[in-house]
Assembly symmetry: C2
Homo-oligomer: 331 residues x 2
């Protein structure tokens, strides 16, 4: 692997010259889809390109086609445990369809515009929005593309969206609890600012009501282990038969704070239900019954929406991903 001095890369003009054809022919021969070129010249061009180590300049290409091969993935942050299971998979899938990924960490809408103006992210082919910082209309104005896929629950009729059908999994979990004789439940929630969380909490309340389960207390955390740990005492103060948490990380915190109540990981004073179905619930220390969906299904839905040809406005129905209850020792 010799380290040659990095000269300016050969252009298509160099290739054309070496092959003894015009730039247009070279361009056509090098195009991904077949274009009318004489077989002999095509070979000469291909060889010349290979010999020169020609790399098309995608900035120039993009200038014409108005499309770079990039999708933006917009997140609040990537430090939740549940993110690990998701983004690695997403990255893999996007790359496998030939897209490169610009990861944008966007907490608030302030300055985002200015930030985007300074980068090619503005020119992405599509944007996947996980961050709850903005609604679909705002996001559309931030990018040149209209191909927006919303995962934050703030979609509208113009934007594609993928939304886990959390209600079904939550119903299953609560039904499991009811079946086991749970009459009183405490609920630990996440940030109220998130639309997804709002819907999630509403689903719990509905399911509790459906089974005649009384809510002894509802406390707000922030999805983190620490917030679960801190809320544990208050949660069980009302002596619930079960504690439901809207994230596994919070459930882990609750479990640790009340380990004495789970001798041998069997619930004694109350049952514990998490959410996310983290891979860590397979760790011996945290056998937390959880609710989750198949990550591959979730990711595939997004990828499919990105690949889909532009759909006429109006026919964008949110794609729903089924969730299920995963029983484990704490339940």
């Amino acid at each position: 692997m010799a380290d040659e001095p990095k000269r300016t890369s050969p252009t298509i003009a160099d290739v054309a010259e070496l092959a003894g054809v015009s730039r247009a022919v070279a361009s056509r021969a090098l195009a991904p889809e077949p274009r009318p070129v004489g077989a002999d010249k095509r070979q000469r061009v291909l060889k010349a390109a290979a010999d020169l180590g020609f790399r098309p300049n995608l900035l120039a290409q993009g200038l014409m086609s108005k499309s770079v091969n990039i999708v933006a993935v917009i997140v609040n942050h990537i430090h939740d445990l549940s993110d690990l299971d998701l983004f690695d998979l997403l990255l893999d899938r996007l790359q496998s369809i030939g897209k490169q990924v610009v990861l944008l960490r966007v907490g608030s809408v302030d300055r985002v515009d200015q930030f985007l103006s300074r980068g090619i992210a503005y020119h992405v082919d599509a944007a996947l929005v996980f961050s709850d910082f903005a609604d679909a209309a705002t996001v559309r104005n931030m990018f040149r593309t209209d191909r927006i896929v919303m995962m934050n629950g703030r979609h509208d009729h113009l934007s594609a969206a993928v939304v886990p059908d959390e209600a079904s999994g939550i119903a299953e979990a609560v039904a499991d609890a009811a079946l086991k004789g749970v009459h009183r439940a405490a609920l630990l929630t996440g940030r109220a600012t998130s639309e997804v969380e709002r819907i999630r909490v509403a689903a719990y309340r509905r399911s509790f009501a459906a089974h005649g389960i009384a809510v002894t207390s509802e406390i707000q955390g922030d999805y983190s282990y620490q917030s679960g740990h801190a809320a544990a005492a208050a949660l069980i103060a009302g002596e619930p038969d079960a504690v439901f948490c809207t994230s596994d990380a919070m459930a882990m915190g609750v479990l640790d704070a009340r380990r004495a109540d789970f001798p041998g990981n069997r619930p004694q004073r109350f049952r514990l239900y998490g959410f996310d179905n983290l891979s860590m619930t397979h760790f011996d220390a945290y056998p937390i019954a959880s609710i989750g969906y198949d990550k591959a299904t979730y990711v595939d839905a997004m990828v499919q929406l990105i690949e889909a040809a532009d759909t006429p406005h109006g026919e964008t129905e949110p794609v729903s991903i089924p969730t299920a209850f995963f029983p484990r020792a704490t339940a």
Copy 2:
């Protein structure tokens, strides 16, 4: 937030026309650094740009400047627990210096070239290499830029590099063990293919030798919880006084597999030392003594290298990040 039909964006020519100046003047007025423009015209241009909602086309800009505001971050994958603590911070820092990040998930060198050719990643200003898929020379050939920062240990004299000085933290940990009377140790390692891991393991061996600690067994895992869990029995077969793992996740697996040996999280049959200083070692269930470095220091070093003006070849000394031992209950 009205959803106007997305027309073709205004160009600098539109701005110039509206301001009643030439394109050249408009360009200069809009440049980030001050350029010679009459104060009055500058104001007119700025106003026109604002009125039109002008966004410079960064593809065109990049075509000229041969530089887009992007850095590539190349990883093997992002599903190790230790990745969470790192990449969120890295993303934040890079964005705060105005860079956008394209995240490349690259396991092997096969097809990478072809993949890069189809994306503007080839044109990045800098590349941060965490993945151990390639050495510095190979990476330099993959991108147009020479500004490569290697974190995978496979750097050479031409590439910048940031390397944790793991030996010092490892020495501290082993010294701690020796002080506590450890004479026999088992070692659980990661993939042998990684240069970083090779050096890490060598450091453990040296420290063991320095303290006269015998190695009862050395087993290879893959950094994962599962591999630690699986290796636990074999690790303690030789009745070591301590088990050292080159990742906290593996140590967590060992701990879970042998929880009976840690009543109340106090080591009984053997002490347990991890590596990475994961934030999860603050969870009650996994109070694992660990070795780690300050992530902010680590990330800042990379960012600084990216921002630094091109340094003449030859004076690229790897930046060393100090590591330290973090005692916890399992030790």
